[in-house]
Amino acid sequence: MKTTAMFALALALVAGGTGASAQSPGPGAPAPLRIRYMVNDVSAAVGFYTDKLGFKLVLQSGPYFAVLTRGDAQLLLSPVKGPGGASQPMPNGERPVPGGWNRMVLYVADLQGEVDRLRKQGVHFRNDIVNGLGGKEILLDDPSGNSVELFQPG
């Protein structure tokens, strides 16, 4: 079982990986861009991103790793503890954890409508809609406390 899972994982990474190399773009579809978020619970995060934000599940390796896709972005979910490289502590013992302020930005056509929809579904927002120079934005939290920005240009 484990070997099969690893093989499936390897195939998924090859499919995403070689295409994304700038040195050898390769033929066919444009390369996905990969973003990695650290999460406390991979399954809970998969549920959140697929149910609330329109991601599709590409692959899940139990509690240890998942790949989601939305548009040209792939979202890699790595737990704080597990066999994957991203789950390993730093040489000084520090462990990668969820949170922080760096985030993916999801463009929406109707920010207020999206916020209303998500609030009804119980999604937690860090702030209210902010008007900036390029558009309107808001920050929501995933179940691990990672931020996702919703942005409406204009």
């Binding site: 861009l33 490289g85 390993q88 730093m90 930005v105």
Partner: protein
């Protein structure tokens, strides 16, 4: 909404210094002029938004929390041969949080930009052998 572009926002301490770092070390191109508050850089499908404290993204939250650089969430910078890439960047003074780690899917290492944001440099474990 264009789906052929992926937008990622990093909070940074110094916008111009950040632009110089991503352009100089990782092959990004500037998108438009940089201001002290904000700049954007592009590489392939990735548009990286670099927001300083004076940008709208730098405003404090209603509870007083202030956005800041750092954390562990990141985009991946995929390479075919991670060893020489890390050597190249080390020779240019780029700081890394760890050494190369090999997991089931490949090898990775975490580089830090001047603000302490992390960029994952990743080499897939299995290389495609035919075009």
């Amino acid at each position: 909404m264009s789906e052929s572009q992926v937008n990622v926002r990093y909070m940074v301490s110094d916008v111009q210094e950040s632009v110089d770092w991503y352009v100089g070390h990782l092959g990004f191109s500037p998108v438009g002029p940089a201001s002290p508050a904000f700049a954007a850089v592009q590489r392939g499908p990735l548009r990286l938004l670099l927001s300083g404290t004076a940008s709208s993204a730098g405003r404090p939250m209603p509870d007083g929390r202030k956005p800041e650089p750092g954390g562990w969430n990141r985009f991946q910078f995929i390479v075919e041969d991670i060893g020489p890439e890390v050597e190249r960047l080390r020779a240019r003074g780029v700081k890394f949080r760890n050494e190369i780690v090999t997991g089931p899917g490949g090898s990775q290492i975490l580089a830090e930009d001047p603000s302490g944001n992390v960029v994952e440099i990743f080499q897939p474990a299995f290389v495609q052998t035919s075009a």
